[in-house]
Homo-oligomer: 168 residues x 2
Amino acid sequence: MKLKSFEQFNCSLAQTLSVIGEHWTLLIIRDAFFGLRRFEQFQKDLGIARNMLSDRLKKLVQAGILEKSEGPGHAEYRLTEKGLALQPILIAMTHWGDAHMPHPKGKRLTFVDRRDEKPIKKAAVYAADGRRLKPREIKARPGPGLLNETGSFTQAVAAQELPSERPG
Amino acid sequence: MKLKSFEQFNCSLAQTLSVIGEHWTLLIIRDAFFGLRRFEQFQKDLGIARNMLSDRLKKLVQAGILEKSEGPGHAEYRLTEKGLALQPILIAMTHWGDAHMPHPKGKRLTFVDRRDEKPIKKAAVYAADGRRLKPREIKARPGPGLLNETGSFTQAVAAQELPSERPG
């Protein structure tokens, strides 16, 4: 499977997928958030083929999402700042799964604020003033990284009325 | 490529990936958010092989994320409520790409509140009172969907001190 092709799209979402969209990658990152650091820990937890795990870890290090260091007798992989910045994506996916693919017995995990143990705010799209916005209450405005380019989907979007501006 | 295997994990993130984690799927959903509805529109925009597009659309309809209806001479695919609920995931991915894989000329797209044209709040993890939380300021608390299960990663996590509770 190659995700290389996504790099060609002038789209921040596609760029992100080119790095974290590969099969298993997000589950490896999830495990890293839970404190797993060693090849054997990831392998045992996920049951993933060793050559595939090795490939994914290598790519995550190359992408600057994991940092590899030599521990006592084994390598360790830790999230970098760039990797830690993926947390809102993981939380948004978890909340969607909670809502739309729930466990019959109830919540699997609840993420809480360490300070007061209160559940975090639901992953959602918020306005600058904190109002929660519904999907059709936002629109996309093209910026300089898009307007001067040719051939991309987003350029086509920018040239027209944005389709997303037509509710319905 | 099969993502079926992710269904076996008792984890809301893995469940979500089992539906939207396949190659191309999130870009099809992105296009649907921008108003694309027809097979030919998706195909032309993404340059994806027709049989693969056909497979992905079929799975998205089966998963209840897209709804298929017969338009004048062609089928149309629209996001359902369950599909629209994916927006926070797409926005979080877009914001991460903006920050970590930027276009050299600047922002590609800015998402704004339709009401006042102000940019939406940055996708992040927020506390109940609206404070922005850093990755290590949250922790996971196991719920009933996890504690009564055996054999999963998350059950192992629940049984121990949660590794994520140890900052470092």
